[in-house]
């Protein structure tokens, strides 16, 4: 440890970077460049909806969209995401007006503790955008980067299927 007497390093007093999150530009000032996107979203922007359960890319709780791509916020350095469109769970639908996927998760019993849920909502939207009528097996494969410890996944699969049916105009 060479610099144990130093405080947390920052980008320098006059450095800052900009993150474009949920349609709004945020200036990030005096932040340590080692901070992950997940940390900055949560701790500097107060967007607590994205969760961290492993910070190792294994659980998907931190899933966000960066330029329409589903990524683990824990594995992205925040400063490297400047100039990209970032969408978090808070950007999916207005408070109190849940998306069809969000409502289906509630109705189907896909939520217990709910810690995995924001990440799964992000992943499910991304899946259904890509593949509107996924088979059960496709759902399992495509969502397998998101771990849920409570539900055993059965009700989550049910929720995803309900949305797919409803979107093609069938009875949910």
């Amino acid at each position: 440890m060479s610099d144990t007497t130093a405080a947390v390093p920052t980008t320098g007093s006059n450095q800052m970077y900009v993150l474009h999150v949920n349609g709004v530009d945020h200036e990030i000032r005096d932040a340590w460049l080692g901070e992950s996107l997940l940390y900055v979203l949560r701790e500097r922007l107060g967007l607590m909806g994205s969760k961290g359960a492993c910070e190792q890319g294994e659980c998907g709780s931190c899933s966000v969209l960066v330029d329409d791509e589903l990524v683990c916020g824990c594995l992205v350095l925040a400063a490297s995401a400047t100039g990209q469109r970032i969408v978090t769970i808070e950007g999916v639908a207005p408070v109190g007006a849940p998306s069809d996927v969000q409502q289906a998760f509630v109705d189907a019993g896909a939520v217990q503790c709910g810690f995995c849920t924001p990440g799964l909502i992000m992943a499910t939207h991304a899946l259904l955008d890509r593949s509107p009528e996924p088979t059960e097996y496709e759902i399992r494969e495509e969502l397998s980067g998101n771990v849920c410890r409570c539900t055993g996944y059965g009700r989550i699969i049910e929720a995803v299927q309900r949305v797919a049916v409803a979107r093609r105009g069938g009875a949910a």
């Binding site: 144990t4 190792q56 294994e58 659980c59 769970i89 217990q112 810690f115 996944y153 009700r155």
Partner: protein, 769 residues
């Protein structure tokens, strides 16, 4: 406190005030916190912050067993942004804590006894500052030889590693004719690995000190607020009322939050700095920082008649409790008293030890000792079936326990005990119709998926069984209770309780109870905190029974007040009044007053404590009515195994579970599927590996959890016989799903490959070699 006996008055007739009340008992209303959870606005413990809050972090022992020679904190203090550094010397009150025996140090002082034991803590302005401060603390250790073999703790050949000795508890059960023998004798050794609860919401807390440091407010994800408060207050040397706890949103628990972890550290740092402090564990720290499922070694021998009736069981169990006591002694009692399984058995000799080692401390995890017992007794049932030439279903039916039978503790099973029905209903569920590898030949359906080279023609399918008995609530004389307060005002019921909602859905159930008993639509849930009496722990499958009983009891008391009021107003004997939908009605006349109207401008309030019936301690022969109640379950597993690569795909789990009464069928299914996922995990992938006392896989890359792809289809039947002993007729449903699902999967693997697997989780090497 009179026990509640009957279920609520419900009716199917249409009420006079519009659509029927929905969301009552037996319905499956959605969770009240559901929308917030799917939108990311639900505040979990780790999401909480306060103005000016600091971050806290914990320095942990790198050694399984060592003497602390010296600690030099100066390097940490020298770092800009560090506001506090604390060690054992700074703990103002009791230096140790624990649920049963308070033997676990808040911070190690003389000795460290496991890798990960807290030695010091810091508070600073940024998590990275904390990390650097911890790295700058110099601790000199004299490394000692660790105790890593639980047998040596049990047999007394290793010097004590703690002043209380190396044995947490020894319990023997002796019943009936100990010399009895059977024409058929089968025996084997079994081993169960250490499982982690692996809840997703990592340990996190926010402590806010009172001005002047006279008290502290703690927001924390826990299973039992009042127990935490007692332990924290003792360590901080504060009166209990000066420590106020509020439940921070809980991201799963499964037993791991029954013991305290970061609670005292967070409060201490807040009191030291006079500022709010947050601690949030990393995943690695979580593996080190909470208790786990006890690894166990079990030898078991069954004596039976030639036609498969059990004559006697013998067993020897050694459970590795790790460095500190936690609930080891209670886990042991569950294991030894459940050794017979859900089967009739008159004669038994069982010896069990829970011992101290330099491994991670073990305590509560879903199933609480019964998981280990079940793995052994179900392995034995299959051996017995083979020895008697019976199939696995027939051997279990021949021995199935019934109401009125006695346990090997002498306790009579008074609950509904539909063991036979659970087995038969499970057997009646359809087997998967898909052939090995799936209908469409999709290689993703093969064990290991498409990335591996499993040859379809080599894959073998197997079927296996597991059946379990599980005690509900607390045992051995503990006065277990839960408290609820209900306020009925202007047709709205407010419910106040300290019941920890950990994901299981008690918040949903509580509203269902109030709607059913009080005829209201609107239910408000007040904050879950310590400003009301204890609810006991969210564990032991107990909250539906205990806190459900408390909410039901309080609602009934309020309903009596309401009836007295309406009766007096209308000159009707209150005993004639009942709730029908949203109305108070005269069962012998025409009176019909909407509840909302009857309560307009008025407040009715009452509090109820639900206690379960008393239990007894076991005597030296393990005899006594130590348990409160029991639930039963059967599981059948279908697996595909690649014997060359040692990979397993669990294809289907079928189950029939004794639930008493399904108060919220959707929640029950959620508990069943979620519990089975954890049972499957213990069968084929989940194990904390410790080598020489060091944890080798404290992360989600190396500790494997079942994903969407690992989890099989679940087909379930709910066996509903309302239990007259249960306040709402409902038995707890949380634990049984994860108990016999594990042995069922392992039995299916044995069936597939014809190998004698006696250890769980089953590793690829166990299959191949």
């Amino acid at each position: 406190m009179s026990a509640t006996t009957a279920t609520t008055t419900t009716t199917t007739t249409t009420t006079t005030t519009g659509a029927p009340v929905t969301g009552r008992l037996g319905d499956s209303p959605v969770r009240p916190d559901g929308i917030a959870k799917v939108q990311g606005s639900f505040a979990f413990s780790g999401d909480l912050s306060a103005d000016g809050s600091l971050w806290g972090a914990t320095l942990r022992s790198p050694h399984p067993y060592a003497r602390i020679v010296s600690i030099d904190l100066s390097g940490a203090w020298a770092i800009n942004g560090v506001e506090a550094v604390v060690t054992a010397e700074d703990v103002p009150g009791k230096p140790t804590y624990g649920l049963i025996d308070q033997d676990q140090p808040v911070f190690a002082s003389e000795y460290v006894r496991y890798v990960g034991e807290p030695v010091a803590a810091v508070a600073a302005n940024h998590p990275e500052t904390c990390r650097r401060a911890l790295a700058a603390i110099r601790v000199e250790y004299e490394v000692l030889e660790p105790l890593t073999d639980p047998e040596r703790a049990a047999d007394g050949t290793f010097p004590p590693i703690h002043p209380n000795g190396n044995v947490f508890r020894h319990q023997r059960i002796v019943r009936g004719d100990t010399e009895a023998t059977g024409e058929v004798v089968v025996e084997s050794d079994y081993e169960i690995g250490m499982q982690d609860q692996a809840f997703l919401g990592l340990e996190a807390a926010l402590a806010i000190p009172d001005p002047g440091g006279e008290g502290v407010e703690l927001y924390v994800a826990t299973q039992w607020l009042h127990e935490d408060r007692g332990q924290i207050a003792a360590c901080l040397d504060l009166p209990a009322e000066k420590v106020r706890l509020t439940l921070g949103g809980v991201g799963g628990a499964f037993g791991a939050r029954e013991d305290i972890s970061l609670q005292v550290h967070t409060c201490l740092l807040a009191l030291r700095t006079g500022r709010p402090v947050r601690i949030a564990y990393s995943r690695e720290e979580s593996f080190l920082g909470h208790v786990h499922r006890h690894p166990a070694r079990i030898w078991m021998r069954h004596h039976a008649t030639r036609d498969g009736k059990i004559v006697k069981i013998e067993a020897r169990i050694v459970m590795d409790g790790g460095a500190y006591a936690s609930t080891s002694s209670a886990v042991l009692i569950n294991a030894v008293t459940h050794m017979q399984g859900p089967y009739k058995c008159e004669n038994a000799v069982v010896d069990g030890w829970a011992v101290r080692t330099n491994h991670l401390p073990c305590g509560a995890m879903r199933g609480f000792g019964v998981v280990q017992a079940c793995f052994a007794h179900e392995g034995q049932m299959d051996r017995l079936a083979a020895a008697c030439g019976l199939d696995p279903v027939e051997i279990r039916l021949r021995n199935a326990m019934e109401t009125g039978d006695r346990l090997i503790t002498g306790q009579v099973i008074e609950n509904v005990a539909p063991v036979r029905e659970c087995i038969l209903e499970t057997a009646a569920l359809p087997l998967p119709d898909e052939p090995v590898g799936g209908h469409d030949g999709d290689p993703m359906r093969l064990p290991g998926g498409a990335g591996l080279t499993a040859d379809r023609s080599h894959i073998r399918r197997g079927i296996g069984w597991g059946v379990a008995i599980k005690n509900l609530m607390y045992s051995e004389g503990f006065d277990d209770f839960s408290t609820a307060r209900v306020t009925l005002r202007d047709g709205v019921a407010s419910l106040k309780f300290a019941t920890a909602e950990v994901g299981q859905g008690f918040v949903t159930l509580a509203g269902q109870i109030a709607r059913s008993v009080l005829g209201v639509d609107d239910v408000v849930l007040e904050p879950i905190d310590t400003t009301v009496g204890s609810a006991g722990s969210t564990s032991a499958s107990r909250q539906t029974w205990m806190s459900g009983g408390a909410v039901d009891g309080a609602c009934r008391l309020v309903r009596e007040q309401l009836f007295a009021h309406v009766g007096a107003q209308h000159g009707v004997d209150p005993l004639r009044l009942a709730i029908d939908g949203r109305d108070v009605v005269d069962t012998m006349g025409d009176l019909c007053v909407p509840v909302a109207q009857a309560t307009a401008g008025l407040v009715f309030e009452d509090t109820f404590e639900h206690h379960h019936r008393p239990t007894e301690e076991l005597d030296e022969n393990g005899q006594g009515n130590c348990h409160t109640a029991f639930a039963f379950v059967a599981h059948r597993a279908v697996v595909d195994v690649d014997p060359e690569l040692g990979l397993v795909k669990v294809v289907q789990i079928a189950t029939a579970q004794d639930v008493g009464r399904a108060l919220n069928p959707l929640s029950v299914i959620g508990q069943i599927e979620g519990g089975i996922a954890q049972g499957v995990g213990l069968a084929v992938m989940e194990e904390i590996v410790q080598i020489d006392g060091r944890v080798r896989n404290a992360n989600f890359t190396d500790y494997l959890l079942p994903t969407f792809l690992d989890m099989p289809d679940v087909v379930a039947t709910l066996i509903e016989h309302p239990d007259p002993m249960a306040p709402l007729g409902a038995k707890g449903v949380g634990e049984p799903p994860c108990i016999s699902s594990t042995p069922a999967v392992v039995a299916a693997i044995r069936d597939a490959i014809g190998k004698d697997l006696t250890r769980t989780p089953v590793r690829p090497s166990d299959i191949v070699f």
